[in-house]
């Protein structure tokens, strides 16, 4: 229902695409017969938690039972997607966050004598470590002398990734991967290792980079009761197919109705 509301062209956003609006609730049908699902093997290799791999594979089997055709496929460039994502996202963030300079928006330091002090101190005091990390990274990849090696290259690889997906979608209707390589970690446990934190985005950022619709569907819990999700990726603007696939699975397994999360105090 939210998708129905936000879909369509927004004249105040030049990057939104002007295509006909669809009623996505009509896509919620139980039917995956003949649906061709590709499973990129790169998302089931090293770095993926054993329990996650197992649960997602069970879901794949379920789809097979429901009448879908499953085939293993390869997405060589998947490894690069994470790097591409962090270069582009940080570059944009470093520029987008420029406006929080203590002049017009955001926190302003009390400690300044010159204009430069306002900029330097407001931003030093106001931003948290992760934001600073991304601004520094983003500034670096856009700097003269590094732009071509990082930002421009990332944009080129992004195009390659998109093309790679296009090729896969000539053969498949939907691609299926885990949503995250591991289950959620506890708050605060990874903040000292940003790289590991970035790696958790491995599966999901790819769709952002390639401009594809994705949906995460719960498909089980691990031994500690932490939820595991699978991700369905569709062709550009083909939200209907992944919604239908997700709905069919959900209605069949009733996973959500049986899942009673316990929250630690």
């Amino acid at each position: 229902m939210l998708l129905n509301l936000i879909a369509g062209h927004d004249e105040k956003d030049s990057t939104s695409v002007d295509i006909e609006k669809k009623d996505y609730t009509k896509a919620l049908k139980k039917d995956v017969k003949g649906l061709k699902i590709g499973v990129p093997k790169e998302y089931f290799g090293e770095g993926i938690n054993e329990e996650v791999r197992e649960k997602v594979k069970e879901a794949i089997k379920k789809y097979e039972e429901l009448g879908a055709t499953i085939e293993e496929c390869s997405l060589d460039i998947a490894d690069e997607a994470l790097a591409v994502y962090y270069i582009i996202a940080c570059a944009e963030a470093s520029s987008n966050l420029g406006r929080f300079d203590g002049i017009r928006y955001g926190y302003r330091t009390k400690n300044f004598k010159t204009l430069k002090d306002i900029y330097r101190n407001s931003r030093s005091e106001g931003f948290g470590p992760e934001v600073k990390r991304r601004i520094i990274l983003g500034t670096y990849v856009l700097s003269s002398g590094y732009y071509d090696a990082y930002y421009k290259k990332a944009q080129k690889v992004r195009t390659l990734i998109r093309k790679e997906f296009e090729k896969l979608f000539e053969k498949y209707d939907v691609l299926l991967t885990p949503t995250s390589p591991t289950v959620a970690y506890e708050i605060g446990t990874k903040s000292n290792n940003p790289l590991e934190m970035y790696l958790a985005d491995l599966c999901t950022v790819t769709v952002n980079i390639a401009g594809l619709p994705g949906i995460s569907v719960p498909c089980g819990v691990n031994s500690k009761g932490m939820p595991i999700g699978m991700q369905l990726i569709g062709k550009p603007f083909d939200e209907e197919t992944i919604l239908r696939a997700a709905y069919t699975y959900e209605q069949d397994t009733k996973f959500r109705e049986n899942y009673k999360p316990e929250f630690k105090k």
Binding site: T15, R99, T139, L142, Y147
Partner: protein, 479 residues
């Protein structure tokens, strides 16, 4: 070595505000003035979460400028972000164009000492203007006014083809006139809608490589630019002659002392970290769009000049002055349509109107009255309703409070006295009051008539028809 052994090399980056109704990425008005921060919205104030939408008119205007300056127009172009911190730049980046400008490889022709010279244009690109800082008078700080933020600009970058301040002056005047003719900018210098960054270097004549250049930013008076170039070239030559070396730096021109100074804040070369703006999409320009814009271009000055010489039989001298500004040219054509007396209109523009503008330090664009009103003024003279000396007073009035000249002469009672009876009455009165002049005339001094006419004009405050006075004095005196 002396001054004559050096060659001056100048390149210009001219920023011109476009006269679109709305700003480049939002629908705020571009109008100059207004209470601070009243012509802005969340987009041009850079509220987090807002997105820019490119104003198509800006692209159209820039392409017009490109076509009028013989540029190649890109089929695909894009917007880039130029990142830097300054309080008048709320987003901390300016949306500009980096490596894919809308227009490239053009030229403007100027006439130097009777010879035509092409000045190359590297590119024309679109960008947004920044806000303005109002420094308060008590030294407590500066206030930011974002009315100008997001006003569309084109930047016109010349090749380093200019060789003297005189050429720069000619180039700027020509460029200004082109932009006025195609109606993309009103080019009001005092409102900052035309500003130039001036790059100056010198080299020995015959030397192939360029010398190290210095840059003077944001200059908004042609006169200052000419002075600054002359001063800066002289300074550079002196430094080189003394065995010194020119630093590549940004200078500030001080109009009062007539000198250039290094900018106080000497940053290392700024890294603007240009990158394509992810909030905007590529600008695609179809052949059809280019053709439509080409067709919409108005008649250019050169063609008007031809017409003035051939159709209106004006001297080339007049024609050149009239086409020097679109406002002159339009005024001339409009007024001539009303009065059908091109030479008289041309004379009024070249003499009295130009004089008035110069005295008040105004530009042709500031002329307050319409072409129709000027045309009517000429009709009043041609019909003999007013004398040309009264017409000058009417023109003064039209500058002060523009209105129909017929109304002005009625209000002021300036209608010329052409009634024979009335003229006769005056003539008799003056003759009676000046027996000495009458005696002089009878003694053969013809000049006495002139004196008497003058007296009569004085008496009538210039309203009497001088030809009639002259004729009637002679008649009466000969009786």
């Amino acid at each position: 070595m002396s001054r004559e052994d050096y060659e001056i090399v100048i390149g210009l980056e001219v920023h011109s505000e476009l006269s679109t109704k709305t700003k480049i990425f939002c629908s705020c008005p571009t109008e100059f003035g207004g209470e601070p921060n009243t012509h802005c919205c969340p987009v041009c104030m850079a509220m987090p979460g807002t997105l820019p939408v490119l104003n198509e008119k800006v692209v159209e205007y820039a392409i017009k400028a490109g076509l009028a300056t013989n540029c190649e127009i890109a089929s695909i172009s894009k917007n880039d972000r130029k990142n830097y911190f300054y309080p008048d730049l709320p987003k901390a980046y300016q949306i500009s164009q980096y490596d894919m400008p809308l227009c490239e490889h053009g030229y403007i022709e100027i006439e130097v000492n009777g010879e035509k010279k092409k000045i190359g244009l590297t590119r024309i690109h679109i960008e947004e203007d920044a806000g303005k800082l109002n420094h308060d008078d008590y030294g407590r700080g500066s206030l930011v006014d974002l009315n100008r933020a997001g006003v569309p600009l084109i930047e016109i970058v010349s090749e380093p083809d200019l060789r003297s301040s005189e050429e720069v002056d000619l180039y700027l005047k020509k460029l200004k006139s082109i932009l006025e003719y195609i109606e993309v900018s009103d080019c009001k210098m005092q409102e900052g809608s035309l500003r130039a960054d001036v790059n100056v270097s010198v080299r020995k004549k015959g030397q192939k490589e360029f010398g190290t250049r210095t840059e003077m930013k944001n200059m908004n008076s042609f006169r200052s630019i000419v002075r600054a170039i002359d001063y800066e070239a002289e300074r550079q030559i002196e430094v080189l002659e003394d065995g010194g070396k020119i630093d590549q730096e940004t200078l500030r021109w001080d109009d009062v002392s007539g000198k250039t100074f290094p900018m106080r804040d000497k940053e290392d070369a700024q890294d603007y970290r240009y990158f394509p703006d992810p909030d905007l999409v590529a600008i695609k320009i179809s052949e059809e769009m280019k053709e439509n814009i080409r067709k919409s271009l108005p008649e250019m000055p050169e063609s008007r000049k031809e017409r003035y010489i051939n159709e209106y039989k004006l001297p080339e001298y007049d024609s050149n002055i009239l086409i020097s500004s679109k406002y002159f040219s339009d005024l001339f054509e409009g007024a001539t349509k009303i009065c059908n007396n091109p030479k008289s209109v041309s004379n009024w523009i070249m003499t009295d109107i130009t004089k008035e503008l110069n005295e008040k330090e105004l530009e042709p664009s500031d002329i307050p009255f319409t072409a129709e009103e000027l045309g009517k003024l000429v009709v009043l003279i041609d019909k003999g309703t007013i004398s040309s000396s009264i017409a000058k007073k009417v023109l003064d009035e039209m500058f002060k409070e523009p209105r129909d000249p017929q109304k002005i002469i009625e209000e002021k009672g300036w209608v010329q006295i052409s009634d024979e009876g009335a003229i006769k009455e005056i003539v008799l009165k003056i003759i009676e009051a000046n027996p000495q002049s009458v005696a002089d005339f009878k003694a053969g001094k013809d000049k006495a008539v002139g004196f008497l006419v003058g007296q009569a004009m004085k008496e009538t405050k210039g309203k009497a028809n001088p030809q009639m006075l002259n004729k009637m004095f002679i008649e009466e005196l000969k009786k």
